[in-house]
């Protein structure tokens, strides 16, 4: 029985419509849908049930596209094209003489071509249904979709069985199983694995079409073998969904503790892992990392944080192998361990509101860890190779996704063979680090303790200086008083040291950063760390981390030249980056030095002149280096491409400078062309204590940060000039500086009005200078900065208060704010 001509016309018009219709063209889509429905009717009339079914579904799909319910429209168009292709092919089935149009191909069961025909029909119909299921917006979450998808897969598996396509059946079952498992575990639908399988099945069909023989299935079997385990779970569709980890209500109490502990463990693990780079068999370090993962796993398990447990578990397994000597931690292994640390860190961070990692990353990491532990090379590239051998065409999408994974280049290297392990069973060196026992104390209690100690110091001074007591000459009393003051001083020192932490953690982060930068910039960089035990106030250490990262990155990226350039310049191919911390004059100095090319004075000067930053009458050669280098700290200057291209320095350096100044620190640059440059930060030991100059105005005392003071002098009348009766300026070593009278700034009715009776303190902040008139300088002392209670009392010109020896409060002058007022006035 011949098919009616109208059927062929319908198919042709549908095919044409699909080729011509733009996904955004609603009218075109509606027309297409009508054509499809017509074709379905035609097919039904011709008793081609399978074609009818496929066409109807295609029409449904188009309808959803019209209603904008389909996200991936190009994929949808592809499915439509396949549907039409199917219809066209099945239209030819009667001509093959295998079956009559009266018998739907799905029912043909005799003979291989017919069997394949049945499978083809089932496949086309089911794959289209599956694909349209996946297009649903709730596809990843709805359990109904999952159930339906699993049923479809099982149906296809049955069809494959019937057609003797065992591999197809296996893959379909495996997908169905995956879907069911995901549904049971309340995980989103593994869309990607379904799509991948569909692609493979489509490829099988194509190969069947070409060869017209079942044996084609054997050609694809390696691909299936690779696909069934574990990749089906891999690269899944919800790759970009965030991993949401939440602790149960009942765990909230322990959560904070867990987070702090986990962080600590991860930091320790990372430090140990980095040491493994040099001595991969150091059992001590392996154990440290292992213990860290193990502890995190244990606690996370207790708190039902399964995602953390998953990652920690596989990482632990890998380390366990390393511990027992069956796995050598090579470069890739180390990458994996560090990546696990990062991943756990991010998961832990997410519990505190950080950015969550996405599922794909987690899955890939776990897969890589498992692979490494099993001694296989990393799964993704392997599968790509297997597939391309089997089916060249299908791999396209897959290759993209595989190479899209980070570090895939590194993964293609198989792990180095396990060599020399037996001969060298982890020489656990005697470098066992002695660590102090520590306890965790809430910062609030610590602050209270500090306050109390401060009070004690004041009270003790008050007793000792009490006229009644200080007039007593009794030796025993004096001795006891002396003893008491010594103890109080010691106590204060200990209390202050409670806030101090070493720079070790911060510097260690730089080790990691440099390691990463090396790979990325493809340079050999050796990091030398000095003075990591230098202690700083906790707040300062926290605040310094970002600027430090910036400077280290700058040094690696731009400061240190590439290997070729270094050889050309006659330097060792390995660049050296030095991080150094030391005390100098009551300040901490942190230096980042590189032996790279140094800053280009000429480029900076050129840029300055272009931007008019240098007065025209100044000869560029006269400008001292320090001043030139300081220009890179100017905002906007940093992004100037000419400078960043050549000298490379200055990206965001204004931010660095601002951060450091906010810490009441200073930064300066030393640089020798061709030899390298040094960024030197001077920071106060603590945010809480500053060196202050105590000054008096009338009956009031104020503290001026010594850091901002250049000098102080008693002005002579000839130094002071009045400008238009409004402002006053003083001549200070040839510069005219505006005079600010502290008593007028603070609107006091006291203090001297005669400039020549007071003292002028020359202040410098943010590059501008002024003179401040005070009555006298009382002396220099360290003061503890305190806030003035409520935020609302933060005032211009005052940064806070300090409690002086007599228990009274003195205000600390905000030099920067003062300058600003001077400008505003």
């Amino acid at each position: 029985m011949r098919l009616p001509a109208s059927f062929q016309t319908s198919i042709d018009s549908v095919a044409k419509a699909i080729a011509l219709t733009d996904v955004g063209d609603l009218q075109g889509l509606v027309a297409l849908q009508e054509l499809l429905l017509e074709l379905a009717v035609e097919a039904e009339n011709a008793q081609l049930t399978a074609v009818c079914e496929v066409t109807r579904q295609a029409a449904d799909l188009v309808e959803r596209m019209v209603f904008r319910e389909v996200e991936d429209t190009s994929a949808a168009m592809k499915q439509l094209a396949e549907a039409v292709e199917f219809a066209q092919r099945n239209q030819l089935v009667p001509d093959d003489g295998v079956g009559t149009p009266a018998i739907p191909p799905g029912n043909v069961s005799a003979g291989p071509p017919g069997t394949i025909g049945a499978w083809l029909t089932a496949h086309a119909s089911i794959s289209l249904q599956l694909a349209s299921l996946l297009q649903r917006s709730d596809a990843s979450t709805s359990p109904d979709v999952a159930r339906e998808a699993a049923e479809l897969c099982s149906a296809l598996a049955a069809a494959s069985d019937a057609s003797g396509l065992n591999e197809c059946a296996a893959i379909c079952r495996s997908v169905a199983g995956t879907i069911d498992a995901a549904r049971d575990a309340n995980r989103p639908l593994p869309e990607q694995s379904i799509k991948t399988s569909l692609d493979w099945l489509a490829e099988v069909r194509r190969s069947l079409d070409i060869d017209d023989a079942p044996p084609a299935s054997s050609a694809v079997s390696p691909a299936f073998a690779a696909a069934i385990d574990p990749p089906v779970n891999d690269n899944a569709p919800d790759d970009n969904e965030p991993v949401i980890i939440a602790a149960g209500e009942d765990c909230q109490d322990t959560l904070a503790e867990f987070l702090a502990e986990a962080r600590e463990h991860l930091t320790g693990a990372e430090a140990a892992a980095l040491l493994l780079e040099k001595s991969p068999h150091d059992l001590e370090q392996i154990n440290t990392v292992f213990r860290a993962f193990h502890t995190i796993k244990g606690v996370a398990g207790f708190m039902a944080l399964s995602q953390i447990v998953d990652v920690a578990h596989v990482a632990e397994t890998l380390l366990d192998k390393a511990r027992s000597g069956t796995y050598t931690i090579d470069h890739i292994g180390l990458d994996l361990i560090l990546a696990s640390c990062d991943m756990l860190g991010r998961m832990v961070g997410q519990l505190q509101g950080g950015e969550p990692p996405v599922k794909g990353e987690v899955r890939r990491l776990i897969a890589r860890l498992v692979a490494a532990a099993e001694g296989r090379s990393v799964p993704l590239p392997t599968r790509t190779v297997a597939l391309s051998a089997a089916i060249a065409a299908t791999t396209k999408a897959l290759t993209i996704s595989a190479t899209g994974a980070p570090n895939s280049a590194a993964e293609t290297d198989p792990p180095e063979p396990d060599c020399g392990l037996a001969a060298d069973p982890a020489p656990a060196k005697a470098t066992v680090r002695r660590t102090d026992q520590t306890v965790k104390v809430s910062t609030m209690r610590m602050d209270t303790l500090l306050n109390m100690v401060g009070e004690l110091v004041i009270a003790q001074l008050m007793v000792q200086q009490d006229p009644l007591i200080s007039h007593l000459t009794d030796q025993r009393l004096q001795r006891n008083l002396g003893q008491m003051s010594k103890i109080v001083r010691d106590l204060q020192e200990v209390a202050m040291s409670l806030r101090m932490v070493t720079l070790k953690g911060t510097f260690q982060k730089m080790t990691r950063l440099v390691r990463d930068m090396q790979t990325r910039a493809n340079k050999q960089i050796e990091l030398v760390i000095e003075g990591e035990d230098t202690e700083l106030d906790r707040n300062v250490v926290e605040e310094i981390a970002d600027p430090l990262v910036h400077m280290v990155r700058n040094a690696c990226d731009h400061g240190i030249e590439g290997e070729a350039d270094r050889r050309k310049a006659g330097k060792s191919p390995t660049g050296t980056l030095t991080l150094r911390a030391f005390h100098r004059g009551g300040m901490i100095v942190i230096e980042v030095s590189d032996d790279g090319r140094g800053l280009s004075r000429e480029r900076i000067l050129k840029k300055c002149i272009e931007r008019g930053l240098i007065a025209a009458d100044r000869h560029p050669d006269e400008i001292p280096d320090a001043e030139v280098y300081n220009f890179v700290f100017l905002p906007g200057f940093s992004t100037a491409e000419a400078v960043t291209d050549i000298s490379g320095r200055g990206v965001g350096m204004d931010v660095v400078k601002r951060n450091i100044e906010a810490l009441r620190g200073k930064i300066e640059i030393r640089s020798t062309p061709g030899k390298g440059s040094t960024f030197s930060m001077q920071l106060p030991l603590t945010m809480a204590i500053i060196d202050g100059m105590l000054v008096r105005v009338g009956g009031h005392r104020y503290v001026i940060p010594t850091l901002a003071i250049e000098r102080a002098f008693r002005p002579m009348p000839e130094h002071v000039h009045s400008i238009l009766g409004k402002g006053e300026v003083a001549m200070v070593r040839g510069d005219l500086l505006p005079i600010r009278r502290l008593n007028r700034v603070f609107q006091l009715n006291e203090g001297t009005d005669q400039i020549c009776e007071g003292l002028l303190v020359v202040l410098e902040s943010g590059g501008s200078r002024c003179c401040l008139l005070v009555d006298e300088i009382l002396g220099q002392q360290q003061v503890v900065i305190k806030t003035l209670g409520q935020d609302g009392y933060r005032l211009a010109g005052v940064t806070g208060g300090a409690i002086l020896g007599d228990g009274r409060v003195a205000l600390i002058v905000d030099v920067g704010g003062l300058m600003q007022q001077a400008v505003a006035a």
Partner: protein, 177 residues
């Protein structure tokens, strides 16, 4: 900040103290502050004036190592200044309303009287005096046997932001030009 809700909260937390008020004098007038907001009472100690603040901000003082602002309540209510006597003292109150960090503030008053129980049914809403008297910080008028006590809304009285002109508030560090 709705003081009534925080007070309800406090009432639930500490039933027995919820209706207790610390009463004090400014001249001949009696005032009261909910006892749950009062931290301590100390004698007048050295106060460092703060520049460029409204006159009722007396300054800051050292409360055992902590610097807290001090308000002169007489000036806050535009009453004439009084001489400092032995009875003059500072009531340290927590302006935070019990949530979050403590915001201790000192309030200078002429003298402290007693802690009185004033049940809610003995408190009347402040009557309208016309616009000349700001009523924001009056929580109500408490009737006791001998006196009418003006019950103060601590949060409103101490709201520094309302009191300090905006131009003296927070400023930005000037960036290098």
């Amino acid at each position: 900040m709705a003081i009534s809700s925080t007070q309800l909260q406090s009432a639930r937390d500490a039933d027995s103290n919820a209706h207790k008020y610390l009463t004090f004098c400014l001249g001949s007038e009696h005032y009261g502050i909910g006892i749950l907001r009062v931290r301590e009472i100390i004698g007048l100690i050295a106060i460092t004036p703060l520049p460029r603040t409204p006159d009722f901000v007396k300054g800051v003082m050292n409360l055992r190592g902590r610097i807290i602002p001090v308000i002169d309540l007489r000036r806050r209510f535009s009453l004439p200044d009084a001489e400092t006597t032995k009875e003059t003292c500072v009531i340290v109150v927590d302006a935070s309303g019990g949530e979050g960090e403590q915001l201790l503030t000192g309030v200078v008053v002429d003298s402290v009287r007693e802690v009185q129980d004033i049940p809610p049914d003995a408190i009347e809403a402040a009557p309208e005096f016309g616009c000349s008297v700001p009523l924001d910080y009056i929580q109500g008028l408490g009737k006791t046997k001998e006196k009418v006590v003006v019950l103060l809304d601590v949060g409103e009285v101490l709201d520094a932001r309302a009191a300090i002109p905006a131009d003296v508030l927070d400023h930005e560090m000037r960036r290098a030009a």
